[in-house]
């Protein structure tokens, strides 16, 4: 049996590792256009800040491929898949045959249509090359503007801040982290970031990017200008754009595989083309809260999808349970925060909202319910036992009997023990143990 995995990040590596566990004999090949050992792109901010070296970004031991007897084709770019011939054609023209193919190609940064971005040059942060480019540009001066105040933008902003740069963040939405945090939570996190000296311009569109003019272009410290909607001009040696990503689906275009925003897969992680599977940021799967197909671009989901794909590729049918598309944990400076599910919803959405807010302590907790089932959560400041609430979202359990306890700082797994959510709990246990 020949397994070919394209992509060496969360989904790809987990799939390779799982396949080897299931099949000692098979040929397993990991192909990636990045000529690097498996590294965690989530750790790139740690690299930018200087906290971790290049070598410390790996999420598997250095001899992972060798120890697991996995072939690698690193620095190779796949350009075309021939489903009929069961071959992947590389840029070099070489053809690599497979019996089962996993497409775990991830996603790429998108370049927003900002006036002048072509002149200033687009810089995102997605891979080690991006990070090296940014570090290189940091040498020309210490002012940075990050356009986009989502997780990636803020992680990057904070990393550059720790590196000693003067950083401003520009966000189009009324507040930072608008996709997963509401205004109250965002305010606590924004205040925490501001403690580090990061400036945040929220609710502000970027009107124009201007490259250095005249003689300024010649200096070693050439400054770009970011012009905001209200006319504010921010000077920056480095302009970063972190406004979103798009799944890397090109490889399967023309193969007959159904592609929506991402590669469409069923619950066995199969694409619509026989023997081709997809996992991770490149694919679309069913969101557990909405019940709809969508992207679920987050590390833990990619790992679960990679693992599930591997089981099915190895002929051991296993369904992926619906995943929480929106979930994230973060700590920029010293305030930890976790959000999951329909976390930004309010009563106007016809949902029941429970909150507790202690602004002076930087604590905020919010739980979103629909007919006594938790649909979303935000924990800021105190995140102990956040996973218990997240598990209740994943289980979609009826919590009517413990609703008044959910926001207590002392709420814990023990409240699920004596009775009421018992059935769900046993399932949870059965699944976990």
């Amino acid at each position: 049996m020949r397994y070919l995995i394209i992509g060496s990040s969360a989904a790809g590596i987990k799939a390779a590792e799982t396949l080897r566990g299931l099949d000692r004999e098979a040929s397993i090949t990991v192909l990636s256009e990045e000529n690097e050992p498996p590294y965690s792109r989530c750790l790139l901010p740690e690299y930018l800040s200087g906290k971790k070296s290049r070598e410390e970004l790996t999420f598997r031991a250095g001899n992972f491929f060798k120890d697991n007897n996995i072939e690698t084709m690193l620095g190779e770019r796949a350009v075309y898949v021939d489903p009929a011939g069961q071959e992947v054609i590389l840029e070099s023209g070489e053809a690599v045959g497979y019996d089962k193919l996993l497409v775990a190609t991830g996603a790429s940064s998108t370049c927003p249509p900002l006036p002048g971005i072509d002149k200033v040059g687009f810089t995102g942060i997605r891979n080690l090359d991006d990070a090296d480019l940014i570090l290189n540009r940091c040498r020309s001066g210490n002012k940075a503007v990050v356009i986009g105040g989502g997780f990636v933008g803020l992680e990057t902003a904070y990393a550059l801040n720790r590196r000693g740069l003067d950083v401003a963040v520009v966000e189009l939405a009324p507040h930072i982290l608008a996709l997963q945090f509401d205004a109250t939570a965002a305010e606590i996190l924004a205040n925490d970031m501001k403690q580090s000296g990061i400036k945040i311009y929220a609710g502000t569109a970027t009107r124009e990017l201007r490259p250095p003019e005249g003689l300024g272009r010649l200096g070693s410290e050439a400054e770009n200008t970011v012009v905001l909607d209200d006319g504010t001009e921010l000077k920056a040696h480095l302009v970063l754009t972190c406004t979103g990503t798009k799944p890397n689906v090109e490889l399967l275009v023309g193969t007959g595989a159904e592609i929506n925003r991402g590669i469409v897969v069923n619950e066995y992680m199969e694409t619509t083309v026989p023997n081709i599977y997809a996992a991770g940021d490149a694919c679309e799967s069913t969101d557990l809260v909405s019940g709809e197909k969508g992207l679920t671009p987050i590390w833990p989901n990619a790992v679960i999808q990679g693992k599930t794909a591997a089981y099915n590729m190895a002929g051991r049918p296993r369904k992926v349970s619906p995943l929480l598309g929106l979930q994230n944990a973060v700590e920029f400076r010293e305030v930890p925060a976790i959000a999951a599910g329909l976390s930004t919803s309010g009563p106007q959405d016809g949902l029941e909202i429970l909150t507790v807010h202690q602004p002076t302590r930087g604590i905020y907790r919010k739980i979103v319910l629909e007919e006594n089932v938790i649909k979303g959560m935000i924990f800021v400041g105190n995140i102990q036992n956040a996973g218990v609430i997240a598990a209740l979202i994943r289980k979609q359990a009826d919590v009517s009997k413990i609703k008044d306890k959910l926001l207590d700082y002392s709420f814990n797994y023990g409240y699920l023990w004596p009775g009421m959510v018992k059935k769900e709990l046993e399932e949870m246990e059965a699944e976990a143990v």
């Binding site: 965690s40 999420f59 031991a61 833990p300 944990a329 700590e331 996973g387 814990n412 797994y413």
Partner: protein, 163 residues
């Protein structure tokens, strides 16, 4: 494989387990030393309406915290079955994905190092410190199947009572 098991009714919330855990994970290996060093316990004696409820890591077979770890620090040892984020080349960065993933709330933050803090089943000990310290025999370190069998029989119950 042995597990740390709890006889919930026997726990009276004395927190000897938490103190013993902190001591075991301190430099000094003493309770007082652990307090001075600021070592936090990895077993969380919480309360359900005032009734004590220790939260213990199950070291799950298919551990959600391992899947969630983007740094690769959280690993399950294939030999011992222990799930821990410590002692590996891949270092924990305190992203708290594991806290979000754990359905039991068995992972907490270590404020000293800003890394995730969880049970490592006391690698230097034969019986974990929490189990050894429990004055009420509420904690057991035994094979799940052995324990379940023992619970099923009256003879087993008697054995457990004197154990």
């Amino acid at each position: 494989m042995k597990e740390i098991l709890l006889d919930y009714d026997k726990c009276n919330g004395c927190m000897a387990c938490a103190q013993a855990c902190a001591a075991e994970h301190s430099e000094s290996k003493t309770i007082v030393g652990a307090i001075l060093e600021g070592v936090r316990p990895r077993i969380f004696v919480q309360s359900v309406d005032g009734k004590p409820f220790p939260i213990i890591c199950r070291h799950c077979e298919d551990a959600p915290c391992v899947d969630a770890c983007m740094a690769g620090a959280m690993q399950k040892d294939p030999e011992t079955g222990v799930v821990t984020n410590e002692g590996h080349a891949e270092a924990c960065v305190g992203c708290w994905m594991c806290i979000m993933a754990c359905p039991y709330g068995a992972v907490d933050r270590d404020y000293r190092s800003n890394t995730a803090l969880k049970c490592d089943r006391c690698p230097e000990r034969e019986i974990p410190a929490c189990v050894a310290s429990c004055p009420n025999n509420a904690l057991f370190y035994t094979d799940v199947n052995v324990y379940a069998d023992a619970r099923r029989t009256a003879e087993g119950r008697r054995l457990l009572a004197i154990g």
